[in-house]
Amino acid sequence: MPAMPLLDIKNLSVEFTTRAGTFRAVDGIDLTVDEGEVVGIVGESGSGKSVTSLAVMGLLGSNGTVVADRMHFGGKDLLAMSPSQRRKITGKDVAMVFQEPMTSLNPCFTVGFQIMETLKVHEGLSGKALRNRAIELLEQVGIPAPESRLSAFPHQLSGGMNQRVMIAIAIACNPRLLVADEPTTALDVTIQKQILDLLVRLQKERGMALILITHDMGVVAETAQRVVVMYAGQVAETRPVDALFKAPRHPYTGALLDALPERALGKRRLPTIPGVVPGIGDRPQGCLFNPRCRFANDRCRIERPALFDVDAGKARCFYPLADAPVGAGEVL
């Protein structure tokens, strides 16, 4: 019998009530993360990947309704917890790093205060021990001269530095799961790599699980062990990273891979996926991807596919792609 996963989510849905009606941002997804595993969640903007992570953290506002058959963390039912029980886990055992480092830190408090706050609340540290731990954390995330940075305000640091501070806050209490929501998107290209390497290094050193949310397939290829591809609030495909990159089964995954510049070498134009993710009121009948799918036929336009078993994982498609996907043929 395999060990119980660290995070175990079954049939999670998130709905938002707006003036225009109810909008289902996440639609019945399953997600498991094992202890020490790196899972990449990939999708375009609006695919529901950020909302999923916020639901895991319990950070959705009052207009977001979370429903799930099961949502367990470390064997405990997250949905059955009282808000104060939940807060004991949030920020301690599950921590999160956000997309915008410049706005995610409170501009009125020093970096040191914001790191020590977490340690004080969850670990009960104080005084010299608290300060030393904060310095140690800043060192671990690669911030030079950490003692002097404790008294710096976020606006005095660069975006990359702020993201390191965010990471320091997130790992302060040795979380078992770190959720990183597009941690490098807002940063300069040169800094992106550094932050990503830092995350991977910390994950390995500490053996914590990592959910890496991104729209960048290349990032996933370098870091993740397993990939969840999301489309319009649903899981389109979920498989181990090697298998997925070698032979994507869902046409959407295939199209995402084709859009990678390194796979489009020799082509005159970078392939793109026409259209956008369906929004609040324009969800098509049948497969949600059918309006943008090259292979869609009448069945795809009428019937909505379930998640079918494919080799080493699942894909939500009636006609999974064969081993040598069209379009990827010119590569390799």
Binding site: R19, G275, D282, P291, C293, R294, A296, R301
Partner: protein, 308 residues
């Protein structure tokens, strides 16, 4: 082949693409947002009512506001003991009908609001445009002057101006107008400076539009929204401040049925006949509140940032 048919595009496009909807006319959209604000609608209704009453004061008022009924001094409102149907809201200390005086007072207050807003808006707009458009020394001079006016509490400034000019309704209106000019000037200047560097203004400038045309035809229409809001709120300030001046004896003089003046001249009857003090105040509060509700509603409906 007269009827062109759709070409043979395979049906990979969404089967039912939604019909392309025309964006609604800005005024229609504005009205749609405004109508949902119940407070603003209530304010608008009250203002319209007061405006109609003020306009037809002679027809609506049961009595002449200045006739003194010697046999009806300090008659209480009709629902109190001793009240008379002839004087619905009672009479004052020299036997004048309260309701009629309030109705004619409404005319005065609306007029005060209209004149003050027009005057201050015109001057403030001109100053703000000049400052924002020409910049440099002109801008610095105008805005320093506005800073000086703003550094004095507005009521104090109005009191001082009224004291210099001498008491009276016209002088009170002038005083209040001067006090609020800086608000319009600052608003206009900010809007003009924000618009001046936009491409469409540069384009008209390149096309040879003169400064006057640029200011009035090109830039002005684009900063109207905040000015409308400010002008609406300006009505309430004007009515409130003019009434305060009247109360202090520096505004309209008795027997003018101005609400603030009415309050001041009936102060000694506060205990004996509370109604002579109550009604003018209620009239001021309701009118000012209505304009503030309307102004808030206009701001919400006109400000695209707050639109959901």
């Amino acid at each position: 082949m007269t009827t062109p048919t759709t070409t043979g595009v395979p049906e990979t496009l969404p089967a039912a693409s939604p019909p392309v909807s025309q964006p609604p006319h800005p005024l229609v959209e504005f009205w749609y947002h405004f109508r949902q604000n119940k407070g603003a609608m209530a304010g608008l209704a009250v203002i319209l009512l007061i405006a109609v009453v003020a306009l037809f004061a002679e027809l609506v008022a049961p009595h002449d506001p200045n006739i003194q009924y010697r046999d009806a001094i300090l008659v209480p409102p009709v629902w109190q003991e001793g009240g008379r149907w002839a004087f619905l809201l009672g009479t004052d200390d020299i036997g004048r009908d309260m309701l009629s005086r309030l109705i004619f007072g409404a005319r005065l207050s609306m007029m005060i609001g209209l004149i003050v807003v027009t005057l201050s808006l015109a001057v403030g707009l001109a100053l703000g445009m000049i400052a924002g458009f020409f910049g440099g020394v002109t801008d610095a001079l105008v805005m320093r002057l506005m800073d000086i006016l703003l550094s004095l509490p507005s009521l104090l400034l109005a009191v001082v101006v009224a004291a210099i000019l001498g008491p009276g309704l016209v002088n009170a209106m002038l005083a209040v107008s001067i006090v609020v000019i800086p608000h319009y000037a600052r608003l206009t200047r900010a809007a003009v400076m924000a618009e001046t560097n936009k491409d469409y203004v540069v384009a008209s400038r390149v096309a040879g539009a003169g400064p006057l045309r640029l200011m009035l035809v090109v830039i002005l229409p684009n900063c109207v929204a905040p000015l409308i809001v400010q002008a609406t709120l300006g009505f309430s300030t004007a009515i409130l401040d003019a009434a305060a001046l009247g109360f202090l004896g520096l505004g309209a003089q008795p027997p003018t049925p101005e609400w603030g003046t009415m309050l001041a001249s009936s102060l000694q009857f506060l205990q004996r006949a509370p109604w002579v003090v109550t009604w003018p105040g209620v009239a001021i509060l309701v009118t000012v509140l209505a304009f503030n509700l309307l102004g808030d509603g206009l701001r919400d409906a006109l400000d695209p940032k707050l639109k959901r």
